[in-house]
Symmetry: C2
Subunit: 183 residues, 2 copies
Amino acid sequence: ANKEPIKPQIVATKTVARTRLFRIETVDLCFANGVETRYERLRSGRHGAVLIVPLLDRETVLLIREYAVGTERYELALPKGRVETGETLFAAANRELMEEVGYGASRLTYLTSLTVAPGYIEHTTHIIVAEKLYEERRPGDEPEEIGVMPWRLAELPALLAREDCTEARSIAALFMVKEKLSL
Amino acid sequence: ANKEPIKPQIVATKTVARTRLFRIETVDLCFANGVETRYERLRSGRHGAVLIVPLLDRETVLLIREYAVGTERYELALPKGRVETGETLFAAANRELMEEVGYGASRLTYLTSLTVAPGYIEHTTHIIVAEKLYEERRPGDEPEEIGVMPWRLAELPALLAREDCTEARSIAALFMVKEKLSL
């Protein structure tokens, strides 16, 4: 089970649906054992996304509360957004931070990259820790004002007990930052 | 920022693409401030999915290593799968555990529910902790044998340092179980 597996060959790919936001592709695979099978996957923008962990101080993170149409409720999570063409990860993180939270950061650090559902979604999210914050708001494309909520990392269990905090990348990133800061 | 926001009204929804696995819908929303906007979202099966944290003993979790066509690499993560019509979450968790890992569990516990991208994906994953394992394999629909890898929860940092461990729900669930067991 632990030896390096041989990757299946991609025999063919075909776009089967395309909307404003999404592109769906079929992928015909041939596994090393000869089994052939067809999967579907969701393609994403080529630059991925950033999720920002804004630290107001060493113990306090800034969360945002925003309406999520996928689950039809307000969700409490870390700010995030797409990386635009020509933008570095740090520039994208700082822009999203200014648009969604009203702060810029003098120190940005790459933490890791996470996937949401690697079996059928290409999407990768790069986690960026933002420190040494200063007030700066830039206009974003949000339809209503975003609520910003400071949360002490020591109180992560109380956050996870809330019904509106469910987004896996935010939760994983908060645990990783808490561990890194030894809180 | 902390007062209860008024949910936007869903004015209309329309399916704009449908494939074997995916259904994409446009949603016209009217926010409390009068702003109208159109979003797209991915609908999912109505029963959601389960992600299982199989504990071989109090300190050791069983991971699986499976080819993920979304990211085109083998990913190391917790076993998971869809909940079928008529199945309880626990029955779905035990079935997936038998199919993917070759174990059944005498004790199943609900931990929490996570979302992958609530802003544009409906999908919800229920996290089930599986204990008191016994060997039992059921045939699944996997195209090749799945690698099973035991991992000590105390060595979570080494797991996160691997390039093939990126799936946010698995990482969040492992941290939550580690904290619950005070490891």
